[in-house]
């Protein structure tokens, strides 16, 4: 720095730079801590309120008019059925769309238009998807207030998220790998199946986990497409009536009386547990793929 500033100036600037460096470290650490504090508060509140009600009778019981008899079994089964519809439908449609947009579609105005629309759809409030599901699946297709209508509505809701995540994952596959494959006379389809998809599976799964977690926690669209708040049987077919965990929690929490919020808290614990379990399974699948490729 000789010639541009004096030794004292340089020393002063050095101290300032180190100070600024320190301040930003503290700032970012504080930001992380604030998030963690609220998460801890949430967990503390839910656990202290809900653990008292949480027992096998609650997990295996159906809804009831009295808090100490109410159970979430119908909700657990309903949510699992919903995911069993949402996961295959949204994954197949979403990944196929992403492959088309990334690998086949010409890069022109139209594809850019579609692209930005998909990104906007990912941000549309879920209640709007509920209205769409009500109009299309419940009435036009005549599915009624059924598991199928609920599942398909949820699939539409998470579809844009999966498409965007899968596109990101596919785009991150190095061009050199695709060139290597094409250079040996592979077709586009062979290159996609053998090179692009294996390399992007971890990314696609990470996005899908987030999307399906959103689906399992959604309440608003299911209320609109007619998930039942009180139901005493399990769905017997995809056209049967159903309920889901968030619906149960919502209905309990809006009831009068001091004990119902405690039941709702127990429901939240179960919902969180199922979510964690689902994520764990997906993470295991993802790690398996990461090891292979």
């Amino acid at each position: 720095m000789n010639g541009f500033m004096s030794k004292e100036q340089w020393k002063k600037r050095l101290n300032r730079r180190i100070l600024v460096n320190r301040i930003f470290y503290i700032l970012f650490f504080a930001a992380t801590t604030i998030g963690l504090i609220f998460l801890a508060m949430l967990l503390y509140r839910v656990l202290t309120q809900g653990l008292g009600c949480l027992n096998m009778d609650f997990i295996k019981g159906f809804p009831a008019p009295y808090p100490d008899e109410a159970g979430i079994y119908a909700g657990i089964v309903g949510s699992i059925y919903l995911i069993a519809i949402v996961a295959p439908v949204s994954l197949v449609l979403g990944v196929s769309t992403a492959i088309y947009l990334e690998e086949y579609a010409p890069k022109n105005r139209i594809s850019r238009f579609i692209q930005s629309n998909i990104q906007n759809l990912a941000g549309v409030p879920s209640i709007v998807f509920g209205l769409l599901g009500l109009t299309f699946f419940v009435y036009m297709m005549g599915f009624g207030y059924s598991l199928l209508a609920g599942g398909l509505t949820m699939s539409l809701l998470v579809l844009p998220i999966i498409v965007v995540a899968a596109q990101e994952a596919i785009r991150s596959v190095p061009n050199e790998l695709k060139e290597a494959s094409y250079g040996m006379g592979a077709t586009k389809w062979q290159t996609i199946v053998r090179v692009v998809l294996p390399a992007s599976v971890p990314g696609i799964l990470t996005g899908s986990i987030l999307a399906l977690s959103r689906a399992i926690g959604e309440t608003a669209p299911l209320l609109i497409v007619g998930a039942a708040a009180a139901i005493y049987t399990l769905p017997d077919s995809v056209f049967g009536p159903y309920t889901a965990m968030p619906i149960q929690i919502y209905s309990w929490i809006s009831r009068p009386g001091e004990e119902w919020p405690l039941v709702a808290a127990a429901g939240i614990i179960v919902l969180l547990a199922v979510l964690l379990l689902m994520n764990a399974v997906a993470v295991i699948i993802r790690n398996k793929f990461q090891k292979r490729y």
Partner: protein, 269 residues
Amino acid sequence: MNTTHVLKTEQVKPNPKEEKNVFEIAGLNLWYGNDQALYDINMNIPENQITAIIGPSGCGKSTFLKTLNRMVEMVPTVKTSGTIKYKGTNIFDPKRNVEDLRTHVGMVFQKPNPFPKSIYDNIAYGPRIHGIKKKKDLDEIVEKSLRGAAIWDEVKDRLDENAYGLSGGQQQRLCIARCLAIEPDVILMDEPTSALDPISTLKVEELVQELKENYSIIIVTHNMQQAARVSDKTAFFLNGELVEFSDTNTLFSNPEDQRTEDYITGRFG
């Protein structure tokens, strides 16, 4: 060459006495969108020889190489005119599919680009996409290809390990082996040693010399010493034009064009 697992629609045995052309290029122009990258290229590339393509950065040498197996069309805005005949048939003929062309004309890239798979699966990739499924056949191809690329002894005990664990030079020879596994007639090499250290470069150069026996090799290099060391013929490209194309010895000792002389004596580039 042993052709027990031939994938080709044709296989012409070369006669070393008679000099034949593997590529006959006439009036080739190429544009990226509105920017012309190649201007009226006319040249014949001989069979079973090493042809080097030299020239400064941006002269179109890589573009030209990638045109020979139509990899250049990965860029969607590319337009071409003129003809490139590969063993007598125009590669731009709409009836000729690129998959077939690229099985005959293999390619090795600038940066080693093995798949994130095992060494075995890397080599077996080509044969598999062409429909060879039997383990025994694949085993045979893998060994033959790895031997052909002079890397068999280094990797034979760890064929099921990930190819990313190899050094850069080994990865590049693995990529050459992977290319050999589809039994091409021509191997295009796009600056294959530019990402390698001098020892690995030497090994690849030696390998290129050995491969000449069975393959026609076209190698793009920005390293003039390398062109002089390994090639039989050399083409000098400048600003998208073919300036000079002749025997390597002639081009380096007695260039016809002033621009060639300026380039090889280091006056520019």
